[in-house]
Structures are given as C-alpha cells and as structure tokens.
Symmetry: C2
Subunit: 179 residues, 2 copies
C-alpha cells in the first residue's frame, strides 16, 4: 500500500481547518476527550484554535510483548464519567478513523452516560469498510481530510523528522481532499 508521509505543519494546518468546520457548524462543546495515544497531539493542537479542557482515555490493543489482543483493554478512563459527561457537550478526538473500532468502542461507552451531545473529530477518515457504524445519536462528524485507504505515516512516528519532512510532498498549505 502506498505510504502518505505528513509533516507536523500539515497536521497543524489540518487541525486549524477542522476548527473552522466546527465553528462554522456552531458546535460549542464543553470539553474534548482525546483518545490516547493517537488523539493526544491533534487534541492539543485543536485547543489552540478552540480553547477547551482536554481529558484523555486510553486503550491498548497490544500487550506488553506487542501481541495483538482480540479486544481493547481500557488503560485510562474519565475519573468520574457520570458527572463529567451527563448533560455536557463533548468532542471526541482521534487521529484517524480507520476501521472505526476504537472510536466506535469509545462512543458506545460514552453514550451510556447521557451526554447532551457527542461529536467526533478526526484528522483523517479513510474511505474503507468500517467494523462499526457511528451511533445514530452522533450527529456531527468532522474530518480534516477524506482519504482513500492509504498507509498514513504520521510525523510523531518518525525516527528522523527531517527525512519525514522531505517525504511529505503535499503542497503548502495542503489542499483539501487530496488522495
């Protein structure tokens, strides 16, 4: 599968565009929930454009020996989900909607606590078969870029960040919706 290398600046620009979508849509949320660890960097960038608190949740699909597990294990959750979520407007943030297993899992769990609304924001949505539907309660879904099924190489995974930048060939600033 063809690799798509992205620079930090391209990601930052994409986050800025997501913020623009959210503001244009009039969605005023109380706080973000960043899915760890992929959502940490996008959520922190988004806070610059829409200043709201961030809490995180963590999920692991690999054990300490790096073997893939059948079901995700929650490694961190909200301290007091009932009181934190009930009646609040939330934005769930992750880097990519791939098979949607993580985002779907989180949405189902969070919806049990009666939020006023939950929306989703991802840097990248891959146009591919998904293992879960977005629950019907979720009315707002923001993606920075809609992509074909590509191997996305995020800058934070780079060993040599200067080489990553050389491979990230998108125009500056990137165009929306490039595959």
């Amino acid at each position: 599968m063809e690799k798509l290398f992205l620079s930090y600046n391209q990601i930052h620009q994409t986050v800025k565009e997501i913020a623009g979508q959210i503001n244009a849509d009039g969605y005023s949320f109380d706080f973000m929930i960043a899915i760890g660890t992929g959502g940490f960097i996008p959520a922190r960038m988004l806070k610059t454009f829409i200043n709201r608190p961030i809490v995180t949740v963590g999920m692991a699909y690999y054990d300490l020996d790096d073997n893939k597990m059948d079901a995700p294990v929650i490694t961190q959750w909200l301290d007091d989900p009932i009181n934190q979520i009930k009646g609040r407007k939330v934005l769930l943030v992750d880097e990519v909607d791939d098979t949607r297993s993580t985002i779907g899992f989180c949405l189902e769990r969070l919806l049990r606590h009666d939020p006023a609304e939950i929306a989703v924001a991802v840097l990248h949505n891959k146009n591919k078969p998904k293992s879960r539907e977005i629950p019907t309660e979720v009315k707002r879904y923001y993606s920075g870029l809609e992509l074909e099924d590509r191997w996305i190489c995020y800058p934070w995974d780079a060993d040599d960040i200067w080489e990553q930048d050389r491979q990230a060939v998108w125009s500056d600033p990137p165009e929306k919706g490039i595959n």
Copy 2:
C-alpha cells in the same frame, strides 16, 4: 522578554535527544505520566523512541473565565493510582520546568503511592528561581535544553504554523544548550 520560537521538528529532535539521555542512563521505566496539556505532545513523541504506555494527569490553573486561580485544580488523575504506581518505575513528562509548581505538585502526589522510582523529563528547563525543590526521592531529571528565562513560543500554540517556522531560527538540527 525575548521570545524563542520553536518548530515542531526542533521539538521532535529535542525529544529524540532526551530519549538518548534516558537510554544512556539506563533508566527503564514501566510507563509515562504526561502532565496535561503541555506534556501531551512531548510524551507522544517520546513514545516513538521509547515505546511505553502513556497515562495522563490534568491540572488547571485558570477557571473557565480564564482567571488565574490560587491553587491548581486536578482535572484528571490516574484511575487507580495505588495499584498503578506502587513498585513501578515511572517517567513524568512535561514541556517546561518553569517555576516548577506543576511538576513539584505532581511529584509530591505521586510519591505518596510508593513508586519504585519516579524520574522527570522536560523539553526545557528554565534557569530561574523555582517555587519548589525536586524531592530528594527523585534521582533522575532529564531536560532536552537548559535555557535562560525566555518566553518560549511552542509550535502547538501557533495560529499560523508556517509563520512560526519562519521565526524558528535555530540551526537544523539544533545545537544542544543554546540560549
């Protein structure tokens, strides 16, 4: 105060150097605790070089109207600190050691739970008076760069990331210990 603009790539490079310090020092920790929200991006970068789980803690010094509060309020903590920390080796990660109030506060709280060891990693340590000492139990302290008291402009706070890059004038890759 003079501003120091940093690019994402410079930060990534600094994190790589911190990972080198940790490995050279032989500190093998079980997991990271990222202090939110400043530690989110450094911790996620560090995971690329030293692959360990990340949990986060959150602290707020400003209320929702952006007024500075006298004491920090914990907005997120570990789910099960006693069992997660007791007897484990931990790395506490934040972006900057400024007055040390946040890092000091976290260290004191975490030490109550009897870790085998807690170490600290920050991108930048400012050489200035600190409001707290590093507790004597903490034997390892890693900083990517030792700086005079400067106004550090982190890339994730930039509205225009391309302009931020133009202002970030450090050599590529940056030299260690530049003021």
